[in-house]
């Protein structure tokens, strides 16, 4: 039961959702791709999927992310009813979608909804790379745009966790246009004074990195996350030179001015809480009267 694993105080037993059950990996042991150590999956999950030995940030599913970030019992999901179509009649596309739905118990590659973070109300969109590599098709774009609209109606901050290979090829140019749709929604929200926080997780590439992922008032990333527009191999072939080891990592982006900060997973909730706190603090009354 993930909710229990991630909350320190366990006052009431919560009913495990089908989703959460699904997220506990089948294997008892997990091998870290970075340090190659083998560890108990249970321990890794308990440590927010941060490698106990080397600190590598293993990908998190959207339900796991929501469970560890939002206050227990506050999450209310939006738009579970939106389903992908097959606009290009792409062979096997619907079957693959169906498979991923089955595997993840999600309707698409992003989970959206509202809840609170240490009491601060937020609308969140959390991408899940298990579903079609987190790629963005019409449903992903629509769910994100609708979540932004809800944040706008409620005047609450919008936080997005990205994890995506980019635009979904099977939906062709419609998926490209989701970049414009989501960016346009963010522009309207921003003009209204809305707070946008983007947290880029491994991997955030292509059309997602070139739209909402990069449009936060604060752009953060998790350590070691791969972030970039074009793929490394494509660039290497084009420029015909070897790229540095840290190329397109979160740390590389920080050095090149693209991120406000790289934030380890264990510090994320506190950092977000501080930023939400500063943005809703209103010392004005006290300040204006004297």
């Amino acid at each position: 039961m993930l909710k229990d694993l991630f909350s320190k105080k366990k006052k009431y037993a919560t009913i495990p959702s089908e989703q959460a059950k699904q997220d506990v990996p089948e294997g008892i042991m997990t091998k870290c791709p970075k340090c190659k150590k083998i560890m108990y999956t249970k321990e890794l999950v308990k440590n927010l999927r941060v490698c106990i030995s080397c600190g590598y940030h293993h990908p998190m599913s959207a339900p796991e992310r929501i469970a560890c970030l939002l206050d227990e019992g506050t999450f209310c999901e939006y738009d579970r009813h939106l389903l992908s179509k097959n606009p290009l009649d792409f062979p096997q596309y619907m079957e693959k979608i169906e498979e991923d739905r089955e595997k993840t118990k999600l309707n698409e590659a992003v989970v959206t909804g509202e809840g609170t973070i240490n009491g601060f109300p937020v609308v969140v969109a959390v991408m899940d790379s298990r579903f079609r590599m987190g790629s963005m098709g019409s449903v992903v774009g629509e769910k994100i745009a609708r979540a932004i609209e809800r944040a706008m109606e409620k005047s609450v901050p919008f936080i997005i966790f990205t994890a995506s290979g980019g635009a979904r090829m099977q939906e062709g140019v419609l998926s490209l246009m989701q970049m414009a749709k989501t960016s346009a929604a963010l522009k309207l929200f921003s003009e209204q004074g809305g707070l946008i926080i983007s947290v880029m997780t491994h991997p955030t590439t292509g059309g997602v990195s070139a739209s909402f992922a990069s449009l936060g008032d604060y752009n953060f990333a998790e350590p070691g996350a791969l972030i970039g527009f074009a793929g490394r191999r494509v660039i290497e072939q084009t420029v015909r030179e070897e790229l540095p080891d840290d190329f397109q990592t979160a740390e590389f982006l920080l050095k090149h001015g693209q991120l406000d900060a790289v934030i380890p997973r264990h510090e994320l909730k506190d950092t977000l809480t501080n930023i939400l706190d500063i943005h809703q603090a209103r010392g004005e009354d006290e300040w204006r009267t004297s």
Binding site: G193, Y218, G257, T271, W287
Partner: protein
């Protein structure tokens, strides 16, 4: 005591004499208390005389004191919840300028400042507090963000100047500074700037277009460093002392010229002697400034800022038209 300045030598000698005398009497059955009291009174008077009559060059030395408190020293003492934001979202993160969001007595603010290092290693990382274009662009990004969320902006100025390098020119040093002056003039939120150390030319001004600009008593603000001025005016950088006297670079001079609003008093002997105390002096002027600016509308803030800079300059409106034909 580490790193005494040239003009403090008489004080150092006197202090040494007093402590020697004290040490001497401790182990012997003699009473020098009269003598010690007299010397301590003399020290007190000498300290007063020296620090009350600092020459501009003395102040330059204090402003450059290696232990002089930096932007981060003041941020730590004046604000809570400080979160540093990095990067200009274009090219890089210039560590010669720090900036972020914080609370000031509960009020959300954006705070930005030049940042020198405290040791050689940090100075290399921070390029001795001399920014590149990406530093100004980061500062501007944070100012526009402050504007979006209606937060006042506080700038700490402390730089020898913009970095005279090849890369800085390639990336548009001039444009970056100019852009900041242009955009700061139009900010719809209060901007309070405080020169805490050296205010070196365009690099300083790029964080310095505010509704109020204050200066610490021993800080300097100038179009060029005294060394640079001496080199240009008299082709001799060793005449820096003379240049410091001539160029009107002290807080008192700038107040008289109408360039700054208030002189923030310093702890006797310089801010580095008691950073906590110095932070309190800054806290006082900052609170007063913000209380005056917060009730103003966006239009009023922009108009006030424009009027402030429009006033600066010295010229005659003559009766005759000087013909150039």
């Amino acid at each position: 005591m580490a790193y005494e300045l040239e003009f403090e030598k008489p004080l150092v000698e006197l202090r040494k004499k007093i402590s020697e005398l004290k040490e001497f009497t401790k182990h012997r059955d003699v009473d020098f208390s009269d003598e010690i009291n007299k010397l301590e009174a003399r020290l007190e008077k000498l300290e007063h005389d020296i620090y009350a009559n600092l020459s501009p060059w003395d102040r330059v030395q204090i402003a450059r004191h290696p232990n002089r408190p930096t932007t981060l020293d003041y941020i730590e003492r004046l604000f809570t919840n400080f979160f540093e934001c990095h990067g200009d979202r274009c090219f890089g993160d210039d560590e010669a300028i720090v900036g972020g969001i914080a609370k000031y007595h509960g009020l959300p603010v954006t705070v930005i400042g030049h940042q020198r290092g405290k040791d050689t290693k940090e100075n290399i990382r921070r390029n001795f507090g001399m920014p590149h274009p990406e530093g100004y662009r980061k500062a501007l990004r944070l100012m526009k963000q402050a504007e979006k969320f209606g937060r006042p902006i506080i700038c700490f100025i402390d730089t020898k100047g913009a970095y005279p390098g090849k890369a800085a020119e390639e990336r548009g040093q001039s444009e970056a500074i100019a852009r900041n002056l242009f955009e700061m003039a139009g900010l719809t939120v209060p901007v309070v700037c405080i020169v805490i150390g050296e205010g070196g030319s365009g690099g300083a001004l790029a964080l310095g277009v505010g509704n109020y600009v204050h200066m610490l008593e021993n800080s300097t603000y100038s179009v060029i460093s005294p060394e640079g001025a001496a080199a240009i005016l008299w082709k001799d950088a060793s005449l820096a002392k003379k240049a410091a006297e001539t160029m009107k670079i002290t807080a008192k001079d700038l107040k008289e010229l109408g360039v700054i609003d208030e002189i923030v008093p310093e702890v006797r002997g310089g801010a580095h002697r008691n950073v906590d105390e110095q932070a309190k002096y800054i806290d006082d002027v900052l609170q007063r400034s913000l209380r005056q600016l917060l009730p103003l509308s966006a239009e009023q803030l922009i108009a006030q800022r424009y009027e402030k800079y429009k006033q600066i300059g010295d010229f005659i409106e003559s009766q005759q038209h000087v013909s150039v034909m």
